[in-house]
């Protein structure tokens, strides 16, 4: 077996190591355009920020290691230029001396990755405008950081954009963030990003959403970014994080099928339209494991697993990739935002029926010092209760709950299963009723009809004539500190005595701070004949939506 692998970072390096474990006899050639293999992509922003102090830490493995330990024929600074599928050969250019040679293969694995998008704007090639993909990029930006840099502009408020912003600020660089969409972190639902926006602002970051760079100019002091709004930003460093596109040129030129968004088409075995050619990682179009249909998910975890699976299939094993569910996480300025599965935006776009609930539990027992509150949004099918997606934002413990829910989604569990989840409880780690159980209770209560709820957007969408009575069941003190306009206040503990003040003619929406007292209020009212529903997630969820509403 002569296996050639194009690309030596996450998917390619994983495929190579797996291939060698499966076969000592195979000839395994790993072709990598850059000087390094398997570096820590996800660490690049933190090296820029100085959080990761040594550059050597970013090298997960080296060509020497792959040669010594796995007997891989590693060819760095080598660019695959063309695939001849008839003769089963790849044309490879040695970037050191410019020579070109043909490398025959029995099986080929493409792991070329995805390239950061560099929009063809005026001035885009000026010095000081970067994208961040590899160690070469990071070295160039790093050099610039030491040159008395004052202002930076990051274009694109996705995961990498925000990590860059944090690390630049960490270096003492005043940073402006420009994002085309009407929110930061576009994969998340907009209201879930409100705490992230607050954290960014609190750290001095200027955020410009619904804004776009239209060009770049050189000035005496550095660079100017022209914005669509007419404003201009001055900066000595501009980093673009506006997304990536699959590096599909080689595949397209070879006549392999690609999807409408450019991802190389593969089947569950990760074979392309040519059964002797596999493809893995950021360059492929895979399947959405939750909703079905195609998905492009440029994440390191899936790339590594795909590398393994492609190698399995090369050696005749029936491994299948189950598709990606898009589990992702961001840490920024002490906040964590994470998601798994489908967002409400995606579900709405695909016209899939779903319901959402919000809870705001503490990450561990409230009676133990240091409890941090999180907001957890759960998305599920209205009929079956199957969990479709989850998002969380907060501090400690957010990663844990998203990983539990990622596992629950993988297992096709329902919200009823979450009620019964038996998670580890000691007061430093969780609660007797974990946030996962709480989300299960609220969602299951909704589906069983015990706990009818209305979402904030649905409430806000009601026409004036339809508007229900808003009943705030918090304490007078909480009410005075801020409430939804038009609400009346009857504290929960007085409600049974004061139902006479309410009309059974008009629908009632109850709310409290996080939803729990509002739920008890609906139980009391409904059993007395009132048409009461609870505002899901209470005033805290309402406040998450406020900036979203202000913007629209």
């Amino acid at each position: 077996m002569r296996l050639v692998i194009i690309g030596g970072v996450a998917g390619g390096a994983s495929a190579a190591a797996r291939a060698r474990r499966l076969s000592e006899d195979a000839e395994i050639v790993l072709v990598e355009r850059g000087p390094d293999v398997s570096f820590a992509n996800c660490g690049l922003p933190y090296y820029l920020g100085g959080v990761i102090a040594e550059r050597s830490k970013l090298l997960v493995t080296t060509p020497e290691r792959l040669r010594a330990r796995f007997r891989i024929d590693v060819r760095t600074l080598s660019s695959a230029e063309a695939i001849d599928r008839k003769t089963k050969s790849v044309s490879i250019r040695n970037l050191a001396d410019g020579s070109v040679y043909d490398q025959p293969y029995d099986k080929l694995i493409l792991a070329p990755g995805a390239a950061p998008i560099r929009p063809p704007l005026p001035g885009i090639d000026l010095e000081g405008i970067f994208t961040l993909r590899n160690l070469h990029d990071v070295d160039r930006i790093h050099t610039r950081l030491h040159a008395g840099l004052k202002h930076a502009v990051v274009v694109g408020a996705g995961f990498i954009g925000l990590e860059l912003v944090e690390n630049l600020v960490h270096r003492g660089i005043s940073t402006t963030l420009v994002e085309l969409a009407d929110q930061v972190l576009p994969p998340l639902d907009p209201e879930m990003t409100t705490p992230i926006v607050a954290a960014l602002r609190a750290s001095g970051v200027e955020i410009l959403t619904r804004e776009a760079a239209t060009g770049f100019r050189k000035t005496g002091g550095g660079l100017l970014v022209d914005l669509r709004s007419g404003r201009e930003l001055s900066a000595q460093l501009i980093v673009l994080g506006v997304g990536v596109r699959p590096e599909n040129e080689l595949a397209v030129a070879a006549g392999l099928e690609v999807g409408p968004r450019g991802g190389i088409r593969v089947n569950a075995s990760l074979a392309t339209s040519d059964p002797d050619i596999y493809a893995v990682g950021d360059a492929i179009e895979t399947t959405d494991a939750v909703l079905g249909g195609p998905a492009q998910v440029p994440l390191a975890g899936p790339a590594n697993r795909q590398g393994r699976i492609a190698a399995d299939n090369v050696f005749g094993r029936q491994s299948k990739y189950r598709g990606a569910q898009g589990t992702a996480i961001l840490g920024v300025f002490g906040r964590t935002a994470a998601m798994t599965g489908a967002s409400a935006k995606t579900l709405a776009r695909q016209q899939r029926p779903f319901r959402a609930i919000y809870v705001h539990p503490a990450h561990h027992a409230g009676y133990y010092p240091g409890a941090e509150q999180m907001t957890l949004k759960l998305l599920f099918e209205p009929d079956s209760g199957r969990i479709l997606g989850a998002q969380a934002v907060g501090g400690a413990g957010v990663d844990k709950r998203i990983d539990v829910l990622a596992t629950a989604i993988q297992a096709r569990m329902t919200v009823f299963d979450l009620e019964e989840a038996e998670l580890a409880y000691a007061p430093q780690y969780g609660s007797a009723k974990d946030p996962i159980n709480m989300a299960g209770f609220v969602a299951a209560g909704l589906l069983r009809g015990d706990h009818p709820q209305i979402d904030v957007p649905a409430l806000l969408a009601l026409a004036a004539a339809e508007r229900p009575l808003l009943l705030d069941v918090r304490t007078p003190k909480e009410f005075a500190a801020g409430h939804i306009a038009g609400a009346v206040n009857i504290p929960i503990d007085d409600l049974r005595l004061r139902t006479a003040e309410l009309s059974t003619e008009k629908p009632i929406v109850t709310y409290c701070e996080v939803g729990q007292r509002g739920y008890i209020a609906t139980r009391i009212l409904r059993q007395r004949g009132f048409d009461a529903v609870n505002l899901s997630g209470g005033y805290q969820t309402y406040q998450l939506f406020e900036p979203v509403v202000r913007q629209s």
Copy 2:
């Protein structure tokens, strides 16, 4: 509906609140012997240690709150003395004035909890010997802490015992731990407790396993504990944490069925042998959700959920309790130990076929500062790969992995599913190949035959004549720093060149530090015709067993 609930802490209070949400009309009487309801049991040790500074934090809810918000007829300082099942009435003693009255019921929920065992040893009733169950106990111990206490003895090295030890040491009290079993934390497998023992010792705790208190005596300076070994320990405070027994007296006297270990028998609806009487919490015998069969699991999470479920059934809903899987966690001196599902000990006792693997991954990407190593043990069925149990010990991130595995066990997932788990990865939170994936890879490799492994106990059990060649594939430096007696050293990167030094006649057990290089070595050797297997978890796992071996 007249519902009477006996016991107002976790299960009882949950049942009461749920009952009221289900029915505004029901008469709900909550009978509690103590002065408090729903206090934070799991916080008691931390209040003693001063970690939880305010006693009021321990009150999760109050009788007043239950009255005002849930209209529960809360009767504290009231002891249920007898149940008359024929007339459906409970005889209740008012502990304030000694009066006794009959309280009729339509449905009864028993939530009496479990009482700490107080063995009938000589001197057991001396002042200064405590158990820890409620706020009254904690107050009595607390008073004693301020009286110039120097030495304490904790009898019983279970979860509560170790939490007590930590908190006493935190107060500057020199503490000796006495445990009857041959290990601390008896629910865990012994080798998994090695790091906990090390942490206890490093904090100055004297640990006496296979030791028992046989009596207590008063001296001038305080108390003396007589030990089975003949040794005596002097102390001013003795706390017993030797286990609990279900408070089943009321149930037994009423003729309700109890199990052999005293737990009140219930069906999946949590009804006792009398369909009008339910029982929940630490007093019941429930089902082992993983292995089937009866189980007594005195944990707060299950108690809370059982309370809800019993209340559901009281009001005609078909809620079922699925059984307990024994998820538990301990934090002690900066270490975390946690488990879920069955242990190897339990599986062996029940003669269930199983396999175990060990991994020692970092809790997040190694290239990001602050990565902490954990040891994760995974137990699974050899045929199906179904996950039966998991244990982990380490620092940060242990709780997350156990919660993920608890969810996987609940969903009856297999080790093959763990390979495909898509968990949240950014370098502060995890790795592209998460510890969960690593455990899945190693276990699936074992079951597929790609990665044959031998466990340390199996290796040690081999007779001299059967002993394989032990091949240490670490670097000479690692080898020199410590290795298994009799091992020969061929570093992994030299192995392909030096296989001539090995005989194909004798079985080979390869090992490295954590198992990964050993795995690669077995792949190399087996493909060259050697009978090679890898030592699961490598030298680090071997070292976990060393103290266990020394002891036996």
